[in-house]
Symmetry: C2
Subunit: 139 residues, 2 copies
């Protein structure tokens, strides 16, 4: 039941972007350096975030990435989705794998795992980047 480090990196990085004033961009080199993340690895993560439309890039010198939407409209679940983190506790509940288990219809435990997934989804769907930042600033 552990998130991949790719997911935690992605959230960390998104927090970084959210913390910057609008109109500024952040380079990967900067983020990678500060968090001790391999640059190439970060690149892969950001390309996914980009493809999902959560962030946008500005190329060339002085370029970098920036949030495409307001921090309070970006759900944590969206970030996970972008980097491919599954939120299903069991394989038979993952997307496009409904046919993985032939006995899915009669399985007595599946409904339980489904409720578990819903609980997790609800949590991740109801929190945004802004919530994390805000909570932190209240200290």
């Amino acid at each position: 039941m552990r998130l991949t480090t790719m997911t935690t990196y992605a959230v960390q990085a998104m927090i970084e972007l959210a913390d910057r004033p609008a109109g500024t961009v952040v380079s990967l080199r900067e983020i990678a350096g500060r968090h001790g993340i391999n640059l190439k690895y970060l690149e892969r993560i950001f390309s996914r975030l980009c493809r999902s439309g959560l962030i946008e890039s500005k190329k060339g010198p002085g370029g970098g990435y920036f949030l495409r939407r307001r921090a309070d409209s970006i759900k944590i679940s969206e970030i996970m989705e972008a980097v491919g983190e599954s939120r299903a506790p069991v394989r038979c509940l993952a997307k496009a794998e409904d046919k993985y288990c032939s006995q899915a219809e009669t399985c007595s435990i599946r409904p339980y795992w489904k409720r578990m997934k819903e609980t997790i989804d609800e949590f991740l769907d109801s929190s945004t980047l802004y919530d994390i930042i805000k909570k932190n600033k209240n200290d």
Copy 2:
């Protein structure tokens, strides 16, 4: 965010035991056969469940395993605990790993992961074997 198959096997098997009338035992061979689980693999799982005190064994011909407590007193979280499934979404929240991240104290995201863990724990702590069986029988 996926449970290991060992965990899902463990829950499946515990449901089997819970579904039997009191006083009866179930052999591993039987469970392994019905669910298509490798016998040796199941043995390992059951030895852990046994060590955790969730089930008990009866040796000899006609022997097998049975629940040590009532189904409505066995939490799903206990089963996970028994087979070593971590419920922490990130490593720095896992047991005996508080020192994994040196910046745990100042980390802005950690409190969020902690709330996530609490949400999951709450779900798993508040459901028992009996709940799963019962829900199923209502169909």
